[in-house]
Every structure is written in structure tokens, then in C-alpha cells.
């Protein structure tokens, strides 16, 4: 797979970089946070993102998208990650769009994908049930009752779950996992927003006798385990790209600080104890870059190593984001632990993003299993 971007991808990346710089610098994130808008993102900005076509990048042209592929959306996330741009794009345009694209029937695709591409609706994926990622053995159940289903169970860490117009629910249906789509206002859905340390919205959601019709089933009954796994890998790869953007920005900001701050009559960046740690981080970041690119392009080039590459990227980037966000704070000294200064935002985002669809250890384990040990 190619490890250098093609023209289309470079163009998307440049556009996203300009957008992030001009429309959503870190001060934008800060103002959204301080506004105490419980949605944790700005609807106007989201509209602009959609009008640039970003919400339709993974969506086929017949449903209003551009079908530019995972690498295309990945490079955009990398740039948005640099400035911590909050938006419903990940849940809506990556996770849920992919689920519907892979599992949905023609009517569902026409209906939902078109509206996702145009930016008219937002969606969230209700999957997790415990405090650590474990997609297998779900306890939320869907029981068939005539031509409807009754859904019962509890979900947690539903990204964007507080305000998304629709929820896609993963539920056990006896012999496997099935996917359902529901309007957030449907009876039987109780949503509790969980304010998170990174100031983005997530929710705990309880389903109590939520009644859905067979037309709300996405894909075959019991038939979605494999599709969920595939979509999770796409999502892991894209979130890794976002995290990689955060890593680079935190590192660049720190590097600048090392060149500016004077102590003992010298720039602190002239101290070898800091220089070597910076050089080691640089080395790790170079490795991260290769992992992210290889994983992002693996989908578009139908590699047979997709799951392993997704785990490689998510684990490696998770670990290095830990390292870099910790070092960034430390190397700033006192100012690094103030709310007034932005660097702490990266520390907070690093930890939340690491939990999304599997933390470092989850993916190390998976990598080994896929390698035969």
C-alpha cells in the first residue's frame, strides 16, 4: 500500500488544514466548552463541514456522497485532531454511515445515507455496555414479537449519544448480533448525558421495552457481527488519524516552547535532558505516521491485513499519545497544568480517544491473536 498521499488526499488534507486553522482553531473548542452548550459542538460549523462534502466522504455517489474512501476521511480527521475540532462527524459520517452502507437495505441507504451526506441528520452508535471496550457477548437484547422487536438493555459511552437524531443499537438476538435504528425520541429510550473530561458529548442510554418494527432492522437478524467488526476497524483507523493529529500538535507546541522559554540564562531546549526526550518522541511519531497511513489505505486497497493494521495503529498511536501528552505537560512546567493554557486539552482528549473502540492493551492482545500467539 502506498505510504505517500495521492493528489486527491493531499487536496482534502490541505482543505481541512485551512478549515481547522481559520474556522476551528483550538480557541473554537475552548469557546464551545465555555459556552456550556451541552451538545459540545457548534451546529453552524457542522453545517459548513457538511457543505464541504465531508459528511459524505464514505458514502457512494448514488446517495449523494463522494466515495473518497477511508484514507480521504482519515486525513481530514488528522487535521481536525490537531485543533481538537468538536463535531458529530465521527459518529455520524464514519461509524453510522459505514454501518448503514455495509448492512442497510436499499430503502435505508436512500433514506439515511442521503441525509447524512447532506448534513441533515446526526447519528450515534449504541454499542458499549461496560467501562472497557468489549464488543462481544452483548447483554442488550432484542426479542421478536410479531412483526416488531422489543429492545431492553443498557449502553454506555455512546459517543454523541446525548443529541444524535437517531441511534443505531447493537443487540443480541439469540444466535448473533443485530443492528436496529431508532429515533432518539422514541418511547422506551432514556438518555443520560455523561459530561466527559475531554468536553465532548457521550451518554449512558437505557432501553426499556423499546418497540421497533422489522423495517428498523439494519441487515439480517443475527447477521451483523462480522459487519460490526469491519466497521469498528474503519472507525479505529480513522480515530487513530484524529489522535495522530493531536499528537503532532501537542509535540509542535511543546517544541516551540522549548525554543522560547529561558531558564538559567539559556533556552530550555538547549538542555540535553529535554533534547533527547524530544528526539525520542520524534522517532515514535515517525513510526506512528507510517502505521496510520498503512492502516487508512488498507481499506481502499482491500488488503488482507486490515484488522491487524487497525490494531497496530490504534495501539501504537494510543501509546504514543500517552507519552507525548504527558511529556508536553511536563515540559511546559507550571503553565502546562493551567486551564488557561491549551496543552492540557490534549492530555484529556488523549485519554478519552484511547478508550474509543479498544484501548492500547485491547489492541495489543488482538494483534497477537491475529499473529498466532
Amino acid at each position: 500500500m502506498s505510504l505517500v498521499l495521492n493528489e486527491e488526499q493531499s487536496y482534502l488534507k490541505d482543505t481541512a488544514r485551512d478549515f481547522a486553522k481559520n474556522k476551528t482553531p483550538v480557541s473554537h473548542f475552548r469557546s464551545v466548552r465555555d459556552s456550556e452548550n451541552p451538545e459540545c459542538f457548534d451546529r453552524e460549523i457542522w453545517k459548513e463541514m457538511a457543505s464541504l462534502g465531508w459528511s459524505g466522504i464514505l458514502i457512494p455517489e448514488e446517495y449523494g456522497g463522494s466515495d473518497f474512501g477511508v484514507a480521504g476521511i482519515g486525513v481530514i480527521f488528522e487535521e481536525l485532531g490537531r485543533t481538537l475540532t468538536p463535531s458529530p462527524m465521527f459518529s455520524t459520517a464514519v461509524v453510522c454511515a459505514s454501518l448503514i452502507k455495509e448492512a442497510g437495505n436499499e430503502d435505508q441507504k436512500k433514506d439515511y445515507l442521503t441525509k447524512i451526506a447532506s448534513g441533515d441528520i446526526t447519528l450515534a452508535f449504541a454499542l458499549e455496555e461496560s467501562s472497557r471496550h468489549s464488543p462481544a457477548n452483548l447483554e442488550t437484547t432484542a426479542k421478536k414479537d410479531g412483526d416488531s422487536y422489543l429492545i431492553n438493555g443498557q449502553k454506555t459511552f455512546v459517543l454523541d449519544g446525548g443529541f444524535a437524531d437517531f441511534l443505531i443499537i447493537a443487540a443480541a438476538t439469540g444466535k448473533g448480533t443485530s443492528l436496529f435504528i431508532a429515533n432518539k425520541d422514541a418511547r422506551g429510550i432514556d438518555i443520560k448525558v455523561t459530561p466527559m473530561v475531554d468536553s465532548r458529548n457521550a451518554a449512558n442510554i437505557t432501553f426499556k421495552d423499546l418497540k421497533l418494527s422489522t423495517s428498523d432492522l439494519i441487515g439480517d437478524e443475527n447477521g451483523s457481527d462480522q459487519i460490526i467488526e469491519e466497521v469498528l476497524d474503519i472507525s479505529r483507523s480513522v480515530i487513530s488519524a484524529e489522535m495522530f493529529g493531536g499528537i503532532q500538535e501537542a509535540f509542535d507546541v511543546t517544541l516551540n516552547y522549548l525554543k522560547e522559554r529561558d531558564q538559567f540564562g539559556a533556552k530550555i531546549g538547549s538542555f540535553q535532558a529535554l533534547q533527547h526526550r524530544a528526539a525520542i518522541m520524534f522517532s515514535e511519531i515517525e513510526l506512528c505516521k507510517s502505521c496510520v497511513l498503512e492502516s487508512l489505505t488498507s481499506f481502499d486497497e482491500s488488503s488482507n491485513d486490515i484488522p491487524r493494521l487497525a490494531s497496530l495503529a490504534k495501539a501504537k498511536i494510543g501509546e504514543v499519545f500517552h507519552l507525548v501528552s504527558n511529556e508536553a505537560v511536563q515540559m511546559h512546567g507550571g503553565i502546562g497544568v493551567t486551564d488557561e493554557y491549551d496543552i492540557g486539552f490534549y492530555l484529556k482528549r488523549a485519554r478519552v480517544a484511547e478508550q474509543i473502540f479498544g484501548n492500547v492493551q485491547f489492541h495489543k492482545d488482538r494483534y497477537a491473536e491475529l499473529t498466532g500467539y
Binding site: 500500500m1 502506498s2 505510504l3 505517500v4 517544541l255 522549548l258 525554543k259 539559556a266 533556552k267 531546549g269 538547549s270 540535553q272 529535554l274 533534547q275 533527547h276 524530544a278 528526539a279 525520542i280 520524534f282 522517532s283 515517525e286 513510526l287 506512528c288 505516521k289 507510517s290 502505521c291 497511513l293 498503512e294 486497497e301 482491500s302 488488503s303 488482507n304 491485513d305 491487524r308 493494521l309 497496530l312 495501539a315 501504537k316 495489543k364 492482545d365 494483534y367 497477537a368 491473536e369 491475529l370 499473529t371 498466532g372 500467539y373
Partner: protein, 406 residues
């Protein structure tokens, strides 16, 4: 594309006809062919293979044809390497000439110097060693003191080098010498080629912790070298020296990676496996398909992931520099540091897996592979020292790449 296919077919046929069967078997350290006037072949096929490859220029496939090289472009060389790998051919010839001196001469040498020295490197006729380090000048290489004085027709050389790998088996030595004693330290150094087959040059082997003596002290006592052996101009040797170090570092960085350096290929049908895990399972056993030591398993996972990440980065750097048509990309500055530290760790993990089986010195109670791993573990400790230490590499990254203040 079809040209490349034709080239692949020709190459395959030629290798089929010219690579002796015995040269397609796994080799041990002692089987490396270094060439030179004093070469001793353990097996006559080694000479046949070296001579045939040298004649074709394929010991240095990408060097220009006019100096005896193979004249292959990037793509053709890739094909050649793939075909060599396919039949598991041993390298026909290894040498410091190929890895270090040749590439530097091609950039800095005069036409006469290239005509004189390059073909002999390609054909394995002359074996070179590297005379950089001195007892008082290691990391601070530019403080070196060995001096070369202008005697009209030739230079008169006096001084001492140390850690000169294989000096006692080599024919010629490329050295850094002080020719401008009054100039600032970097500006009084020249790059000089010296024939070791003379009275004024003597060597004395030094024994390593691995028990081997691959390097020496090298003494120059009124040794001489003709004027035309000065490369890159009087007192301009430091640029040549640095460029050569880049070649050296890239070579050392890739050690222990072998074919991994080509990265995962697009659609290989082979199931991914882990060499470390397979070997560790033999020693510690497995439980439900998992290695029966979770701490060790975690270390192997880290190592395997980093191996893959590093191999991908080697590939990315190659793609980037090919695309931009410029020199090495920023990524390549990490290779020496990362590659050698990673390789050291690999042997530490093997030791942990093997327990006392990895701690034998000799004797029939240990398997030959086990003994080899022990010695190799000791040898890897030098990886992060030779060619510039890890600390020096981190200094280089800090200053040149990150542009941190002095």
C-alpha cells in the same frame, strides 16, 4: 511494465544458471564473503558466485556501469532483490567498500579515483576498512590527531586509530587525517586512502565481549600515501566523512530487519507469524494458543508491533525520497537510533525466553543456535555504539531535525 517483466524473466534465468546450489542455503556468520587480496574461501562455490555477480556488476546493482556497477534503476534493483530472495541466494559479497566507501567516492571522488577504486570494490578485489576513531576521539570525532604531512609527491602519516573493524584482514584503509593543524578543528581534516600493505602500517587485534576479535588498533608509523589518494580536496574531508557516516548508519539501522524492511506486501496470502513468539513457544510452552508467560508475551507484542511500524517507516522513507527526488527524508534520521535499540531489545527478549539455555559459553550441552544467539546478543551491544552512539544520534535529531537551540 512489460520491460520490467522481461527484466524479471532474464534475471530469473540468469540466476538459475549462475547461482550455485550451495549458495542458496542458509549461512552462518563465518560464511560471509568479504573479498580482498587475503580472502580465503571456505567453499569454492563462494568464489564462483562472487566472481559471476561481480562480473555482472550485481554486487553493486545500482552503481553506474562505467565503473563496473550493475547500472540498474530503482525498479530493476527491486526486481533483482526479489529474485535473489526468491531463491534464497546468499549475498555474493559484503564489504565496507560496498556499504560506505563506494557510495561516498561516487559523490566526492575524481574520475581517476572512481576508475581506480570502484571496479575493485564491485569485484571484491580490494577489502577496505574504516580509520575514523582514535583513542581520544570517538563521539568527538573531529578532534582527531593522526596527521598527514605534505612531502611533495606523497603524504607522510603518523598516529593511531582504534576500533578499526577487520583491519588485520584488509588491504586498504580510508582514513580521516589532520592536514591543517592550525585550522579550526573541522576545517583541518582530510579524507585519505592508505594502502595497508606497507611497513609503516601495523595492526593489533582487540578482543570483544563476544569472544571474537573483529577489530584492531591500527598504527601509522611514517606510513605513506600518494597525493592522488586524497578525496574531496585538502582540508575538506569532513564533508566526505559525514556523508559516508550517513551511508554507514543506514546500513547499521537495517541490520536485524532483513526482508522485513520491504514492509508488508499488499496481498500476501501467507498468514502473519511472529518469529519471536514461535521461538518463545518452544521454550515456555503455550496455553490455549497463547504464549504461556503473559509478561513475556506482552514484550513480544510490543516488539513485533514496533518491528512492523519500523519496517513501514523504512518503506515510507524510500517512497518519499523517490517521490520528492531529494535526499533522505526526515524520517531517515531516526533509523540508526531506533533500529539499533530495537535490535538490542530483540536479543534481550530471546534471552528472557530461553532462560539459562541462552547463557552458555560453549560445549556440546548447548545447541549451536543457542550458542550463536548468546554471542549475537553480546555483539548487538555494539550496534548502538558503532557508527555514532545512540546519544549522538539523538543529538543529531535534536539539532538538525528539531532545530533545538545549542
Amino acid at each position: 511494465m512489460s520491460d520490467l517483466n522481461a527484466f524479471r524473466n532474464e534475471t530469473r534465468d540468469w540466476l538459475e544458471a549462475n547461482c550455485p546450489e550451495s549458495m542458496r542455503t542458509p549461512m552462518s556468520q563465518g560464511d560471509v564473503v568479504w573479498g580482498g587480496r587475503k580472502v580465503e574461501f571456505k567453499d569454492p562455490d563462494q568464489k564462483v558466485w562472487m566472481d559471476r555477480m561481480g562480473e555482472k556488476g550485481w554486487t553493486c546493482p545500482t552503481w553506474p556501469k562505467e565503473y563496473g556497477g550493475g547500472g540498474l534503476n530503482f525498479e530493476e534493483n527491486k526486481v533483482l532483490q526479489e529474485e535473489l530472495m526468491r531463491i534464497k541466494a546468499r549475498p555474493a559479497l559484503n564489504s565496507f567498500g560496498i556499504w560506505m566507501l563506494g557510495p561516498a567516492l561516487l559523490e566526492y571522488g575524481t574520475e581517476e579515483q572512481k576508475m581506480e577504486h570502484i571496479p575493485k570494490i564491485v569485484r571484491g578485489e580490494i577489502r577496505w576498512c574504516q580509520g575514523y576513531s582514535e583513542p581520544g576521539s570517538g563521539s568527538d570525532l573531529a578532534s582527531l590527531k593522526t596527521k598527514a604531512e605534505d612531502q611533495g609527491e606523497e603524504y607522510l602519516i603518523n598516529g593511531q586509530k582504534v576500533w578499526t573493524s577487520y583491519a588485520d584482514e584488509c588491504d586498504m584503509i580510508f582514513t580521516l587525517v589532520r592536514t591543517g593543524p592550525l585550522e579550526p578543528k573541522h576545517e583541518g581534516i582530510s579524507f585519505l586512502l592508505i594502502d595497508m600493505d606497507q611497513e609503516g602500517v601495523t595492526t593489533k587485534p582487540i578482543k570483544l565481549i563476544s569472544g571474537k576479535s573483529p577489530f584492531c588498533e591500527t598504527f601509522f608509523d611514517n606510513a605513506t600515501a600518494p597525493k592522488e589518494n586524497l578525496v574531496g580536496g585538502l582540508n575538506k574531508g569532513w564533508s566526505v566523512a559525514k556523508r559516508l557516516l550517513q551511508f554507514e548508519r543506514n546500513m547499521i539501522a537495517g541490520m536485524g530487519f532483513g526482508s522485513a524492511a520491504s514492509g508488508s506486501s499488499k496481498k500476501s496470502d501467507t498468514k502473519p507469524t511472529s518469529g519471536l513468539a514461535t521461538m518463545a513457544k518452544r521454550y515456555v510452552g503455550e496455553k490455549e494458543d497463547k504464549l504461556n508467560d503473559s509478561g513475556l508475551r506482552n514484550k513480544i507484542i510490543d516488539h513485533d508491533m514496533n518491528s512492523q511500524a519500523f519496517a513501514l517507516t523504512l518503506r515510507r522513507a524510500a517512497e518519499e525520497s523517490k517521490k520528492s527526488n531529494q535526499g533522505p527524508s526526515a524520517a531517515s534520521s531516526i533509523f540508526k537510533y531506533y533500529g539499533t535499540e530495537h535490535n538490542k531489545l530483540r536479543y534481550e527478549i530471546m534471552l528472557e525466553a530461553m532462560g539459562t539455555k541462552a547463557l552458555g559459553w560453549d560445549g556440546a550441552e548447548f545447541g549451536p543456535e543457542e550458542l550463536a544467539i548468546t554471542r549475537e546478543w553480546l555483539r548487538t551491544k555494539a550496534n548502538s555504539i558503532e557508527g555514532g552512539t545512540s546519544e549522538v544520534q539523538l543529538n543529531v535529531i535534536s539539532k538538525r531535525v528539531l532545530e533545538l537551540p545549542q
